[in-house]
Symmetry: C2
Subunit: 513 residues, 2 copies
Amino acid sequence: MQKEISRREALKLGALGVGAGVLGASNLMAMPLDAKDVKFDEEYDVVIIGSGFGALAAGITSAERGLKVLLVEKMGRLGGNSVINGGIFAVPNNEAQKKEGIKDSNELFLKDCLKAGLQINHTELLETIANRAKDVFALTVKCGAKYVEKLSHAGGHSVPRTYQTANGSGSGIVLPMIEYIEKNPNVVIKKRTKFDDFVLDNDGKVVGISVREGYKFDSKLKDDDRENKSGERKFFKAKRGVVLASGGFCRDIFFRQLQDPRLGKDVDSTNHPGATAGGLIAALNIGACPVQVSWLQYGPWACPDEVGFGVGSMFNVNGSFRYGISVDPRTGKRYMNELADRKTRADAMFKVIDAKKDIYPINFCDSQCIPSLLSSHFEKPLKAGILKEFKTLDELAAHYKIPADELKKTVEKYNAGVKAGKDEFGKPVETTGGIDISKPPFYAERGVPKLHHTMGGVKINTKAQVISINTKKPIPGLYAAGEVTGGTHGASRLGSVAITDCLTFGMIAGENI
Amino acid sequence: MQKEISRREALKLGALGVGAGVLGASNLMAMPLDAKDVKFDEEYDVVIIGSGFGALAAGITSAERGLKVLLVEKMGRLGGNSVINGGIFAVPNNEAQKKEGIKDSNELFLKDCLKAGLQINHTELLETIANRAKDVFALTVKCGAKYVEKLSHAGGHSVPRTYQTANGSGSGIVLPMIEYIEKNPNVVIKKRTKFDDFVLDNDGKVVGISVREGYKFDSKLKDDDRENKSGERKFFKAKRGVVLASGGFCRDIFFRQLQDPRLGKDVDSTNHPGATAGGLIAALNIGACPVQVSWLQYGPWACPDEVGFGVGSMFNVNGSFRYGISVDPRTGKRYMNELADRKTRADAMFKVIDAKKDIYPINFCDSQCIPSLLSSHFEKPLKAGILKEFKTLDELAAHYKIPADELKKTVEKYNAGVKAGKDEFGKPVETTGGIDISKPPFYAERGVPKLHHTMGGVKINTKAQVISINTKKPIPGLYAAGEVTGGTHGASRLGSVAITDCLTFGMIAGENI
């Protein structure tokens, strides 16, 4: 009983809590506030932090239940990383698979994800996205998203189960969803509105947030979350609760370096500049469980000749890696299965790369696959000068200083493998429809892995409720979805499962809140 | 300015902080308290949480500066995991190396640690332990610790640089340190005293702790930290600060499963039953940075035929792995370098193990190495029936159902490698002094990796100060040392570096507090 009594005493005494830990003159960021001391400026049923896949799915779903919804986005444009992503969307057991005669199952999907995730995925979350993928796919179609008819075979998946947006970008989903949600009179969207702190009531329930309106993200600051003082503070009540969908932290130098000290500011990322850890930290400060936060993923298909995600990534995903090969320029030889999972490929590429000597793998394919590529995935990098066209393999070899004879031997060997349906690195060449590397012109691009996705984040249950590290139960009033959560993908996410993950738990948060 | 004003307002309003997040009826564990509302029962200069290597080094060092010191230990005995560990202690550039003519350097030590740690170690922490290892070794000698004269060559180290305690256990260091510290009139030690919460002042400085005296750890509870209500609450002031040296969380089912869901309650650990995450969580609740918490390490030298660390582990470390081999019983073949780093070995062993069919690797050596083993490392497992003696390889093969011909071929091949100084798996056989597997009797033990060390924890700087995730500066008044910290070891700790790490940062905390 001793403990119980002292708890009540502590309450009566008005315990300061973590706020106190950060009260020092230098920082109150992410300090949770007491509802009884807050005068709310505006009231909503649901407040959603972020405006990417998870946030939009949560917003649409809760608004269509008749709830009054606010979305806050710190940046000047909506969509976070979702709007610049590759627009590939894994849906196990989908309708297009049935038409194409592709056999799939939840078990196979889980097996693929667990293999890439080094078996540490939280399987109840994987099962949830497998079960609900078709529902969120339908949600995007309802909003007006358009997809290419033929399924893609994304790296690490046993079968083609991936839809590609018609415009070859996540914007093909995000923009229709924004247009759709903006028509709903229940929904208010505020850009340049930075989430700072959760507001908690006396029972520890999340009942609102504090933000700064008119905030301007400043990419010149070393640490925008802490240093940027712009905007006017406001308090928004969330009668039903808050959905945290603030994304990952690939652009947060401090937080990512805690997990991997090699990731200094010179390490490029595919993410938009605002992908910092502020939202995640605010959740940790109110006791959200940190899950697998040490696992960061590189996108192996990026290009060192441009900044960020750029225009070259999708050519590698859909062109050179699928229908061509990647070689070490010093030897002219292949060194990996170009359709392996992301971690396997990134690990292999880093062994080839010598940044100091400007040596990067050369990814290339021939003209046969170009008709099957979206024009944006081919013409944009070509126009940008990142993707180069060569009339002969000799010309290609000369340009990248590859031993030409070795390169030609490598191509011959690969082509023989395509013909035989058996590749020396285990690439599933039977899925390329017989396309080898034989019809000039050839198209080549230098490759580099860039920091792409942070696997870890807060622990959620299958209802998208955030679990407390202290009670081991849901933190009342707090939901989360998308990259700010952890566990679904384990050690490494398979390509095209991000959209499935973010949309599913966004929708589930919207259903349950 | 907006933000600054609101901070002050928040202060004035008496913000509730994370306490509020956990105020719900079910839990106040690890709730930080406000100093102005606390009546301290006792006052010290320094309060230390834990009683293992880190805690004892901090206690001795601060007490010898004339400070009044309290150590609190939740269990009924002192020493935590330190007192049951293997007593192997890496000291780069040590005196015994000079005598034995072994060349070593800080650079080589860092290289070895970084290789095992998959290059994500926080190198400033590694450099610190490399620089101070000789000082903490001297500290243990001053306290009365005794070491074997000949250095050990621990797995993953390029050269022998590891001292072994004379009694073959960490108790050979811990018990003399306890005896030493107990003589110091400045020191009070309280057993069965469970740390619950930090007490913070208005500036966010850690100024004390709350505990329960007369607490009794209950290993039958699913979650002792949360469910156990025993003991009487007391408040201890720490005028200079608190040192958190509460150890790792290998026995915390909930917290370890967040990081790897496969680690259910049936997965054994070498740790003592009290190795839970309570101390770490309390620190996270006041804003300590979580570092690399997802990386858990298995000790590959444990035995499935006993519970916990047991008596068989040290035979594998010093006998069978060093002077013998490990084989897959189905094939009679080796499958790894028995002196590789722990992660490499554990990964290889898990591929051999089939727990459902009770198949485990067989580790064995011959009689030649026995004279060089400590009697406790040989006689205890033999007496316990875990280690078995065989007159011939045929007898050994028959007992473990290994194909005898294959086993003999394997031994022949290994012996030829020892003679040639070149092993097929890259084992540094040149360091075994020519001992092969040829002189009966043979000694064999079944092997299994058990959960052994949690690499992650709170971020400290080279002064052992805990860094705030919010201010990115030290949390005033809070220091940490040992397994509760993260970063030193990266993804996987090399054997025998734990003692170096724990003692060094304990000593540094004691110097700086």
